[in-house]
């Protein structure tokens, strides 16, 4: 069957930021498939110039409302690497715990509030409050736990207050920290219920061979710092991130695009799971297998499942970190900072993929130049190539307008794009 199709989604909903989808099929032949990013740029890299080092994490955290903790931590790591500061073990544990809870919060927000309505045939989570109250309550409970623990460790769930270069302004309350242990155990149970719900969802059957980029795990599933790896076999040190991202400009997007060994690559939960599967906690690996998710998986819709798998991983790992923190006496919260001239890079796996902050400082610690490479900007080219392939496959299958539109929207949503972040 030959189809005609003309789809124009202006400002895709249930994603962060502003992007448009355009698909045109004439007589069964794909004429156009376009992922357009129209978000206004905010110029963070320019506004930081001339500011002192302590401004960087505070301002750069504001690049993103969803992953402000990740941006803050990447920025801090960039500054610390430039000044030769090695955080204490306690700080490293607290940062990872905070990072884990941001991952849980963000993944649950995406899976339940943004993605799930597609699978349940609703326009938003709002009708589900009445039709599936148990699902909404489960999601709110998981997200609430993650946010509460972010408050306790970072001082605030969004744009954290305690995270600074050198460590933390103050430490969490030990008693309240201990109170999170049973809640985390309960969350792990809740995630199994979530998995049961997601098993009832029909994930679109679409595969396109893709290069996946992430941090390279050394002994543990990586989130903060380390070497960079691609599924096509490229490995580089953190400082060489620009050789991994190769940013360039295109007319269809106010965000920059990236490429590595091919025309595009993907970052995010699926990339991390693909590249570091063996380092996931056993229960998370088991959950992945239950969904048929095994490396290297080339179906972008399975990023949803990879996020679910990571939720279980970070919840389990948060319990480990909590036990380690509570099992040792508090050390001083922060190290003294002595600025010096030089460059520093911080690579952090945030919910949507690997994030880089690079800074150059003068001798008193003022920012000479700043560069932030955002996960979603690294994904834009891959979304475009996926969209083209999906539209071509849909045209061949003779699908109707509404079905193609639904699949296209779900495809972009599966990447959980953070568009305003990508343009920053």
């Amino acid at each position: 069957m030959k189809v005609d199709c003309d789809i124009s989604v202006r400002h895709l909903t249930r994603v962060e930021g502003h992007g448009n989808i355009r698909i045109r099929i004439e007589d069964g032949e794909l004429k156009e498939a376009l992922w357009e990013v129209v978000e206004t740029p905010r110029f963070f890299e320019a506004m930081l110039v001339g500011k002192r080092w302590d401004n960087a994490p505070w301002i750069c955290g504001r690049i993103c409302g969803i992953c402000s903790i990740g941006h803050t931590l990447a920025s801090i790591r960039g500054v610390e690497n430039a000044f030769g500061i090695i955080p204490s073990r306690q700080t490293a544990r607290l940062r990872l715990l905070l990072k884990h809870m941001e991952t849980l919060q963000s993944h649950v927000l995406h899976l339940f509030f943004l993605a799930a309505p597609d699978f349940l045939g609703e326009a938003s989570v709002l009708p589900l409050i009445r039709s599936r109250p148990e699902v909404v309550a489960l999601a709110a409970g998981l997200k609430g736990l993650a946010n509460d623990l972010c408050d306790e460790v970072g001082g605030r769930r969004m744009h954290p207050t305690r995270t600074v270069v050198g460590g933390f302004t103050m430490l969490p309350d030990r008693r309240r920290l201990a109170d999170f242990r049973p809640r985390l155990l309960e969350a792990a149970e809740g995630l199994r219920q979530a998995a049961a719900i997601f098993k009832g969802f029909c994930l679109p059957d679409f595969v396109r061979e893709t290069e996946f980029v992430s941090l390279k795990g050394e002994g543990e599933y990586p989130f903060i710092g380390g070497s960079l790896i691609s599924s096509d076999g490229v490995t580089r040190p953190e400082t060489d991130y620009r050789l991994m991202t190769n940013e360039y400009l295109v007319l269809q997007s106010t965000s920059k695009w990236s490429k590595l060994s091919r025309d595009s690559f993907a970052v995010g939960a699926l990339a991390r799971v693909n590249n570091n599967f063996r380092l996931l906690r056993p229960e998370a690996q088991e959950l992945a297998r239950e969904f048929g998710l095994a490396p290297v998986c080339h179906n972008p819709y399975l990023n949803n499942i990879a996020q679910l798998v990571e939720c279980l991983h970070v919840t389990g790992d948060a319990i480990r970190l909590l036990d380690e923190l509570l099992g040792s006496a508090w050390e001083p919260p922060r190290l003294e900072v002595t600025p010096r001239a030089g460059r520093g890079v911080g690579a952090v796996e945030v919910p949507r993929g690997i994030l880089y902050h690079g800074y150059e400082f003068d001798e008193v610690g003022r920012i000479v130049s700043c560069d932030c490479v955002i996960p979603t900007s690294q994904n834009h080219a891959n979304i475009q190539h996926d969209l083209t392939a999906l539209a071509r496959q849909s045209a061949r299958q003779g699908l109707g307008d509404r079905e193609i539109e639904r699949l296209a929207e779900m495809l972009v949503r599966a990447y959980d794009p953070c568009i305003s972040c990508s343009v920053h």
């Binding site: 930021g17 740029p41 890299e45 993103c64 709002l126 909404v136 305690r162 103050m170």
Partner: protein, 268 residues
């Protein structure tokens, strides 16, 4: 379960209307809207109080028959001025949500530089459209401001509840310093940290100082702000003008004070 959208709400026995509310975002991190979703414990009760007809970040579709528009972000491109004017034309009440909408927020930090340099620094010679970052009130009448970066969800819920039941919206006229003292915190100055608590509008319950992080003035000046006295404290404690200006200019709420300081001291 009864369909609560059809049930009139009651407040102290008096029926109240559920207003139709829409959320919009201009140049921003969309964090202020997320703060509303972030309030898991009271979110459902809050959603019961209003009827959300448009919230692009969280829902597909949506109508244009809203009465209250909550607009996040600052204006940084001409098409945003047009969007904002359309929103103003429809909304009975336009609310500026967060520091970007109220003052330009961190976005206005780029206004320190010539626009051509800003564009070249990030995009090279690639064509890109942008304008200086401005608050909503530079283009349309703003009925109500909700301050903060990010907004404090408890405050939003209180303000929206007051709106629904027709209560007057009141802001504290004292500074963050008062809230901080009331919370029994150690003074940040005693800990060797700079803090804008003495001059910044209260209402956040000293969110940052509670975490031993000095205030950066995201809510703008308090009605009773004694800037000269704060500068004297900063001098006495040995904080440079650069440190003070970094904080005062971060969110745009102290723009006139910063301009005066720069004019007086020849700072960057």
């Amino acid at each position: 379960m009864p369909d609560s959208s059809l049930t009139p709400k009651n407040y102290l026995g008096v029926p109240v209307e559920r207003p139709k509310v829409a959320f919009f975002e201009l140049s921003s991190c969309e964090g202020c809207q997320l703060q509303i979703l972030n309030n898991e414990s009271s979110l459902l009760a809050f959603l019961d109080l209003i009827e959300i007809v448009r919230f692009r970040e969280a829902m597909s579709g949506g109508g244009d028959d809203y009465e209250i528009a909550l607009v996040e972000g600052s204006v940084t491109r001409p098409d945003e001025v047009e969007r904002l004017k359309l929103i103003r034309a429809q909304a009975r009440l336009l609310v500026a949500l967060g520091s970007c909408a109220c003052f330009g927020g961190v976005n206005q930090l780029k206004n320190r530089f010539p626009l051509d340099w800003v564009k070249r620094e990030v995009y090279g010679e690639h064509p890109i459209e942008t304008a200086p970052a401005r608050p909503l009130a530079d283009f349309v009448a703003v009925d109500l401001k909700i301050y903060g970066c990010p907004i404090k969800k408890e405050e939003v819920e209180r303000i929206v509840t007051d709106l629904v039941i027709g209560k007057e919206i009141v802001y504290p006229d004292y500074p963050v310093c008062m809230e901080c003292k009331a919370n029994g915190n150690l003074c940040l100055f005693e800990l060797g940290e700079p803090c804008l608590g003495p001059v910044t509008r209260a209402g956040c319950d000293a969110w940052c100082p509670n975490s031993r992080a000095g205030c950066w003035g995201c809510r703008g000046p308090a009605t009773e702000a004694n800037l000269a006295q704060m500068l004297a404290i900063m001098d006495e404690r040995g904080f440079s003008r650069e440190t003070v200006i970094d904080r005062l200019e971060c969110f745009g709420g102290f723009a006139s004070q910063v301009a005066a300081l720069r004019a007086a001291g020849g700072h960057r």
